[in-house]
Protein backbone atom coordinates (compact mmCIF):
# COMPACT_ATOMS: atom_id res chain seq x y z
CA UNK A 1 0.00 0.00 0.00
CA UNK A 2 1.29 3.37 -1.00
CA UNK A 3 1.27 6.11 1.54
CA UNK A 4 -0.25 8.79 -0.70
CA UNK A 5 -3.12 6.63 -1.80
CA UNK A 6 -6.34 7.22 0.06
CA UNK A 7 -7.63 4.21 1.91
CA UNK A 8 -11.16 3.15 2.24
CA UNK A 9 -10.62 1.80 5.66
CA UNK A 10 -11.17 4.85 7.84
CA UNK A 11 -10.21 3.08 11.02
CA UNK A 12 -6.71 2.53 9.74
CA UNK A 13 -5.03 5.73 10.99
CA UNK A 14 -1.84 6.82 9.37
CA UNK A 15 0.24 8.86 11.81
CA UNK A 16 1.65 11.00 8.95
CA UNK A 17 -1.82 11.84 7.87
CA UNK A 18 -2.94 12.50 11.41
CA UNK A 19 -0.15 14.96 11.85
CA UNK A 20 -0.85 16.55 8.44
CA UNK A 21 2.67 15.90 7.23
CA UNK A 22 3.38 15.56 3.55
CA UNK A 23 4.24 12.04 2.66
CA UNK A 24 5.47 12.88 -0.85
CA UNK A 25 8.97 11.70 -1.39
CA UNK A 26 11.52 14.54 -1.61
CA UNK A 27 12.63 13.24 -4.98
CA UNK A 28 9.11 13.48 -6.31
CA UNK A 29 8.69 17.04 -4.94
CA UNK A 30 11.97 18.01 -6.64
CA UNK A 31 10.83 16.53 -9.89
CA UNK A 32 7.61 18.56 -9.84
CA UNK A 33 9.57 21.73 -9.23
CA UNK A 34 11.81 20.94 -12.18
CA UNK A 35 8.76 20.32 -14.32
CA UNK A 36 7.37 23.72 -13.34
CA UNK A 37 10.56 25.36 -14.54
CA UNK A 38 10.37 23.51 -17.79
CA UNK A 39 6.90 24.84 -18.74
CA UNK A 40 8.08 25.91 -22.15
CA UNK A 41 8.94 22.41 -23.12
CA UNK A 42 5.51 21.40 -24.52
CA UNK A 43 1.71 21.79 -24.29
CA UNK A 44 1.07 18.11 -24.33
CA UNK A 45 3.07 17.73 -21.26
CA UNK A 46 1.02 20.50 -19.62
CA UNK A 47 -2.24 18.64 -20.01
CA UNK A 48 -0.77 15.52 -18.60
CA UNK A 49 0.75 17.47 -15.78
CA UNK A 50 -2.61 19.16 -15.07
CA UNK A 51 -4.26 15.80 -14.91
CA UNK A 52 -1.58 14.64 -12.47
CA UNK A 53 -2.09 17.83 -10.38
CA UNK A 54 -5.87 17.30 -10.29
CA UNK A 55 -5.35 13.74 -9.18
CA UNK A 56 -2.90 14.90 -6.54
CA UNK A 57 -5.31 17.61 -5.39
CA UNK A 58 -8.14 15.13 -5.17
CA UNK A 59 -5.93 12.83 -3.21
CA UNK A 60 -4.97 15.59 -0.81
CA UNK A 61 -8.62 16.62 -0.43
CA UNK A 62 -9.49 13.13 0.49
CA UNK A 63 -6.75 13.12 3.01
CA UNK A 64 -7.89 16.41 4.52
CA UNK A 65 -11.37 15.03 5.06
CA UNK A 66 -9.96 11.99 6.65
CA UNK A 67 -7.69 14.12 8.86
CA UNK A 68 -10.67 16.00 10.18
CA UNK A 69 -12.32 12.76 11.08
CA UNK A 70 -9.17 11.55 12.77
CA UNK A 71 -8.83 14.75 14.76
CA UNK A 72 -12.43 14.47 15.85
CA UNK A 73 -11.80 10.95 17.03
CA UNK A 74 -9.21 12.25 19.54
CA UNK A 75 -10.66 13.27 22.92
CA UNK A 76 -11.02 17.07 22.99
CA UNK A 77 -8.93 18.92 25.60
CA UNK A 78 -12.01 20.71 26.84
CA UNK A 79 -13.71 17.49 27.66
CA UNK A 80 -10.57 16.05 29.23
CA UNK A 81 -10.55 18.88 31.76
CA UNK A 82 -7.20 20.27 30.67
CA UNK A 83 -8.57 23.74 30.13
CA UNK A 84 -6.85 26.17 32.51
CA UNK A 85 -9.91 28.33 32.96
CA UNK A 86 -11.81 25.44 34.42
CA UNK A 87 -9.09 24.65 36.99
CA UNK A 88 -10.26 24.29 40.57
CA UNK A 89 -9.86 27.59 42.34
CA UNK A 90 -8.61 26.92 45.93
CA UNK A 91 -9.97 30.28 47.07
CA UNK A 92 -13.43 29.43 45.81
CA UNK A 93 -13.19 25.97 47.27
CA UNK A 94 -12.28 27.44 50.66
CA UNK A 95 -14.84 30.18 50.39
CA UNK A 96 -12.21 32.89 50.79
CA UNK A 97 -11.80 36.03 48.73
CA UNK A 98 -9.51 35.64 45.79
CA UNK A 99 -6.71 38.17 45.94
CA UNK A 100 -6.81 40.88 43.29
CA UNK A 101 -3.36 40.83 41.75
CA UNK A 102 -3.95 44.14 39.93
CA UNK A 103 -4.32 46.13 43.09
CA UNK A 104 -0.99 46.04 44.84
CA UNK A 105 -2.12 47.73 48.01
CA UNK A 106 -4.94 45.37 48.71
CA UNK A 107 -2.90 42.29 47.95
CA UNK A 108 -1.46 41.87 51.39
CA UNK A 109 -4.85 42.38 52.95
CA UNK A 110 -6.43 39.76 50.75
CA UNK A 111 -3.60 37.36 51.45
CA UNK A 112 -4.08 37.97 55.10
CA UNK A 113 -7.76 37.24 54.68
CA UNK A 114 -6.97 34.02 52.92
CA UNK A 115 -4.51 33.10 55.66
CA UNK A 116 -7.02 34.17 58.23
CA UNK A 117 -9.43 31.67 56.74
CA UNK A 118 -6.86 28.96 57.34
CA UNK A 119 -6.12 30.34 60.78
CA UNK A 120 -9.76 30.26 61.72
CA UNK A 121 -10.05 26.70 60.62
CA UNK A 122 -6.90 25.59 62.42
CA UNK A 123 -7.57 27.41 65.63
CA UNK A 124 -7.76 24.88 68.46
CA UNK A 125 -10.92 25.27 70.39
CA UNK A 126 -10.12 22.67 73.00
CA UNK A 127 -11.96 19.45 73.63
CA UNK A 128 -15.69 19.72 73.15
CA UNK A 129 -16.42 17.33 75.94
CA UNK A 130 -14.19 17.58 78.98
CA UNK A 131 -14.64 15.20 81.85
CA UNK A 132 -14.56 17.06 85.13
CA UNK A 133 -14.01 14.94 88.21
CA UNK A 134 -15.28 15.72 91.65
CA UNK A 135 -13.35 18.46 93.40
CA UNK A 136 -11.77 19.54 90.14
CA UNK A 137 -12.69 22.77 88.43
CA UNK A 138 -12.89 23.26 84.70
CA UNK A 139 -10.05 25.79 84.87
CA UNK A 140 -7.72 23.25 86.49
CA UNK A 141 -5.52 23.10 83.40
CA UNK A 142 -4.92 26.84 83.50
CA UNK A 143 -3.90 26.79 87.14
CA UNK A 144 -1.58 23.83 86.53
CA UNK A 145 0.05 25.68 83.64
CA UNK A 146 0.44 28.76 85.78
CA UNK A 147 2.05 26.69 88.54
CA UNK A 148 4.43 25.15 86.03
CA UNK A 149 5.43 28.58 84.75
CA UNK A 150 5.98 29.81 88.30
CA UNK A 151 8.10 26.75 89.05
CA UNK A 152 10.19 27.37 85.94
CA UNK A 153 10.74 30.99 86.95
CA UNK A 154 11.73 29.88 90.45
CA UNK A 155 14.18 27.30 89.09
CA UNK A 156 15.71 29.89 86.74
CA UNK A 157 16.07 32.37 89.61
CA UNK A 158 17.72 29.77 91.83
CA UNK A 159 20.02 28.77 88.99
CA UNK A 160 21.04 32.37 88.38
CA UNK A 161 21.67 32.79 92.10
CA UNK A 162 23.62 29.53 92.32
CA UNK A 163 26.01 30.42 89.50
CA UNK A 164 27.95 33.12 91.43
CA UNK A 165 28.16 30.80 94.43
CA UNK A 166 29.55 28.02 92.26
CA UNK A 167 32.11 30.40 90.81
CA UNK A 168 33.05 31.64 94.27
CA UNK A 169 33.37 28.06 95.54
CA UNK A 170 35.68 27.28 92.63
CA UNK A 171 37.88 30.27 93.52
CA UNK A 172 37.83 29.42 97.21
CA UNK A 173 39.00 25.89 96.48
CA UNK A 174 41.87 27.37 94.52
CA UNK A 175 42.92 29.48 97.49
CA UNK A 176 43.64 26.36 99.56
CA UNK A 177 45.64 24.61 96.85
CA UNK A 178 48.97 25.50 98.49
CA UNK A 179 47.45 24.79 101.94
CA UNK A 180 48.34 28.25 103.20
CA UNK A 181 46.16 31.34 103.14
CA UNK A 182 47.90 34.70 102.76
CA UNK A 183 46.59 38.32 102.87
CA UNK A 184 46.71 38.74 99.07
CA UNK A 185 44.41 35.75 98.54
CA UNK A 186 42.06 37.01 101.23
CA UNK A 187 41.93 40.45 99.56
CA UNK A 188 41.14 38.79 96.23
CA UNK A 189 38.33 36.76 97.73
CA UNK A 190 36.89 39.82 99.46
CA UNK A 191 36.82 41.62 96.08
CA UNK A 192 35.15 38.62 94.46
CA UNK A 193 32.50 38.58 97.17
CA UNK A 194 31.68 42.19 96.37
CA UNK A 195 31.63 41.54 92.61
CA UNK A 196 29.45 38.44 92.87
CA UNK A 197 27.22 39.84 95.60
CA UNK A 198 28.03 37.10 98.09
CA UNK A 199 27.51 37.81 101.75
CA UNK A 200 30.06 36.94 104.42
CA UNK A 201 27.67 34.37 105.88
CA UNK A 202 27.39 32.66 102.50
CA UNK A 203 31.17 32.73 102.26
CA UNK A 204 31.41 30.87 105.59
CA UNK A 205 28.81 28.36 104.48
CA UNK A 206 30.69 27.64 101.24
CA UNK A 207 33.96 27.46 103.12
CA UNK A 208 32.53 24.87 105.52
CA UNK A 209 31.26 22.83 102.58
CA UNK A 210 34.68 22.83 100.95
CA UNK A 211 36.57 21.91 104.11
CA UNK A 212 34.17 19.20 105.20
CA UNK A 213 34.12 17.62 101.75
Amino acid sequence: MFIDEPTEDEDDIDPFEALNVSTTAPAARGASLLDALAEDDGVEDESSEEEGGVIATLEMGGMMEMNEEIVESVIPLDEAGVNEEEDVDPFEELGATRPNVNVVESTSTNVNDALAAFMDEDEYQGPENTIVFEGESATGDESIEQEEVEEEIQVETEKARAQPEELYQFLLEGVWVDDVLDPAEVALMARKRRDLGISFETHLKILKQILHD
Binding site: V180, L181, D182, V186, A190, L211
Partner: protein, 152 residues
Amino acid sequence: MSILFQHALDLAWNDGRLSKRGAILLENFQEILELSDSQRSVVEEKHHLQVVPHLIPRGFGSGASTLDQWMTSLMDLDDELPRYLVSMGRQSLETGISKQAWIEGFAAAERMKCEFEFARGVWEPEFEVEILLWPEALDPVAKSLGLLLEEE
Protein backbone atom coordinates in the same frame (compact mmCIF):
# COMPACT_ATOMS: atom_id res chain seq x y z
CA MET B 1 38.70 17.62 117.13
CA SER B 2 38.25 20.22 119.80
CA ILE B 3 41.61 21.69 120.71
CA LEU B 4 40.05 23.14 123.85
CA PHE B 5 38.91 19.78 125.21
CA GLN B 6 42.23 18.29 124.19
CA HIS B 7 43.97 20.93 126.29
CA ALA B 8 41.62 20.23 129.21
CA LEU B 9 42.57 16.51 129.05
CA ASP B 10 46.27 17.41 129.01
CA LEU B 11 45.84 19.52 132.14
CA ALA B 12 43.70 16.95 133.97
CA TRP B 13 46.32 14.20 133.29
CA ASN B 14 49.40 16.36 133.78
CA ASP B 15 50.86 14.32 136.67
CA GLY B 16 50.12 11.01 135.00
CA ARG B 17 46.86 10.35 136.85
CA LEU B 18 43.26 11.60 136.60
CA SER B 19 41.51 12.46 139.85
CA LYS B 20 37.79 12.28 140.50
CA ARG B 21 37.64 16.05 140.63
CA GLY B 22 39.46 16.22 137.33
CA ALA B 23 36.92 13.84 135.77
CA ILE B 24 34.04 15.95 137.07
CA LEU B 25 35.64 19.10 135.65
CA LEU B 26 35.98 17.39 132.30
CA GLU B 27 32.30 16.54 132.41
CA ASN B 28 31.48 20.17 133.14
CA PHE B 29 33.75 21.41 130.41
CA GLN B 30 32.12 19.07 127.91
CA GLU B 31 28.80 20.69 128.72
CA ILE B 32 30.23 24.22 128.44
CA LEU B 33 31.66 23.43 125.02
CA GLU B 34 28.46 21.62 124.05
CA LEU B 35 30.37 18.59 122.90
CA SER B 36 28.40 15.43 122.21
CA ASP B 37 29.50 12.15 123.79
CA SER B 38 30.66 10.87 120.42
CA GLN B 39 32.66 14.03 119.78
CA ARG B 40 34.22 13.78 123.22
CA SER B 41 34.98 10.09 122.76
CA VAL B 42 36.92 10.82 119.57
CA VAL B 43 39.12 13.32 121.41
CA GLU B 44 39.46 11.23 124.55
CA GLU B 45 40.28 7.98 122.69
CA LYS B 46 43.04 9.68 120.78
CA HIS B 47 44.44 11.12 124.03
CA HIS B 48 44.36 7.73 125.72
CA LEU B 49 46.11 6.06 122.83
CA GLN B 50 48.72 8.70 122.02
CA VAL B 51 49.39 10.57 125.28
CA VAL B 52 48.48 8.54 128.39
CA PRO B 53 50.81 5.56 127.67
CA HIS B 54 53.77 7.93 127.62
CA LEU B 55 52.88 9.65 130.91
CA ILE B 56 54.92 8.92 134.01
CA PRO B 57 52.75 8.97 137.16
CA ARG B 58 54.12 11.63 139.47
CA GLY B 59 51.17 12.39 141.73
CA PHE B 60 47.50 11.68 142.39
CA GLY B 61 45.67 13.84 139.91
CA SER B 62 46.82 17.30 140.90
CA GLY B 63 46.13 18.37 137.36
CA ALA B 64 42.51 18.98 138.36
CA SER B 65 43.49 22.22 140.07
CA THR B 66 45.34 23.43 136.97
CA LEU B 67 42.35 22.54 134.83
CA ASP B 68 40.03 24.40 137.18
CA GLN B 69 42.19 27.58 137.01
CA TRP B 70 42.39 27.46 133.23
CA MET B 71 38.63 26.97 132.85
CA THR B 72 37.97 29.85 135.20
CA SER B 73 40.30 32.24 133.37
CA LEU B 74 38.76 31.22 130.03
CA MET B 75 35.28 31.88 131.33
CA ASP B 76 36.38 35.19 132.76
CA LEU B 77 37.34 36.47 129.32
CA ASP B 78 33.68 36.67 128.46
CA ASP B 79 33.20 40.02 126.61
CA GLU B 80 36.87 40.31 125.76
CA LEU B 81 36.93 36.93 124.03
CA PRO B 82 35.60 38.16 120.64
CA ARG B 83 38.23 40.93 120.45
CA TYR B 84 41.03 38.51 121.20
CA LEU B 85 39.81 36.00 118.66
CA VAL B 86 39.50 38.64 115.93
CA SER B 87 43.00 39.76 116.68
CA MET B 88 44.34 36.20 116.70
CA GLY B 89 42.63 35.54 113.40
CA ARG B 90 44.27 38.56 111.80
CA GLN B 91 47.66 37.71 113.18
CA SER B 92 47.42 34.16 111.93
CA LEU B 93 46.58 35.43 108.46
CA GLU B 94 49.58 37.71 108.42
CA THR B 95 51.86 34.85 109.33
CA GLY B 96 50.12 32.53 106.87
CA ILE B 97 47.33 30.28 108.12
CA SER B 98 47.17 26.68 106.97
CA LYS B 99 43.96 24.85 106.16
CA GLN B 100 44.25 22.66 109.26
CA ALA B 101 44.94 25.71 111.46
CA TRP B 102 41.87 27.44 110.06
CA ILE B 103 39.68 24.37 110.71
CA GLU B 104 40.89 23.97 114.29
CA GLY B 105 40.84 27.68 115.09
CA PHE B 106 37.36 28.11 113.67
CA ALA B 107 36.08 25.03 115.55
CA ALA B 108 37.51 26.39 118.83
CA ALA B 109 35.98 29.79 118.20
CA GLU B 110 32.68 28.06 117.39
CA ARG B 111 32.78 26.31 120.78
CA MET B 112 33.27 29.71 122.41
CA LYS B 113 30.50 31.20 120.25
CA CYS B 114 32.87 33.66 118.60
CA GLU B 115 33.34 31.99 115.19
CA PHE B 116 32.01 34.98 113.26
CA GLU B 117 34.48 37.36 114.85
CA PHE B 118 37.38 35.00 114.29
CA ALA B 119 36.39 34.55 110.63
CA ARG B 120 36.17 38.30 110.12
CA GLY B 121 39.69 38.67 111.45
CA VAL B 122 40.91 36.19 108.84
CA TRP B 123 38.70 36.83 105.80
CA GLU B 124 37.76 40.52 105.92
CA PRO B 125 40.83 42.64 105.16
CA GLU B 126 38.74 45.86 105.24
CA PHE B 127 37.69 45.13 108.81
CA GLU B 128 39.98 47.07 111.10
CA VAL B 129 41.45 44.86 113.79
CA GLU B 130 43.33 45.93 116.86
CA ILE B 131 46.36 43.73 117.36
CA LEU B 132 46.27 42.45 120.96
CA LEU B 133 48.43 40.16 122.97
CA TRP B 134 46.15 37.24 123.81
CA PRO B 135 45.80 35.99 127.39
CA GLU B 136 47.44 32.76 128.50
CA ALA B 137 44.09 31.03 128.61
CA LEU B 138 43.99 31.22 124.80
CA ASP B 139 47.40 29.67 124.30
CA PRO B 140 45.96 26.39 123.02
CA VAL B 141 44.18 28.32 120.27
CA ALA B 142 47.32 30.33 119.54
CA LYS B 143 49.29 27.10 119.20
CA SER B 144 46.84 25.61 116.77
CA LEU B 145 46.99 28.80 114.68
CA GLY B 146 50.77 28.66 114.59
CA LEU B 147 51.14 31.83 116.63
CA LEU B 148 52.88 30.02 119.43
CA LEU B 149 55.46 27.32 119.18
CA GLU B 150 54.73 24.05 121.00
CA GLU B 151 57.75 24.50 123.25
CA GLU B 152 56.58 27.88 124.40
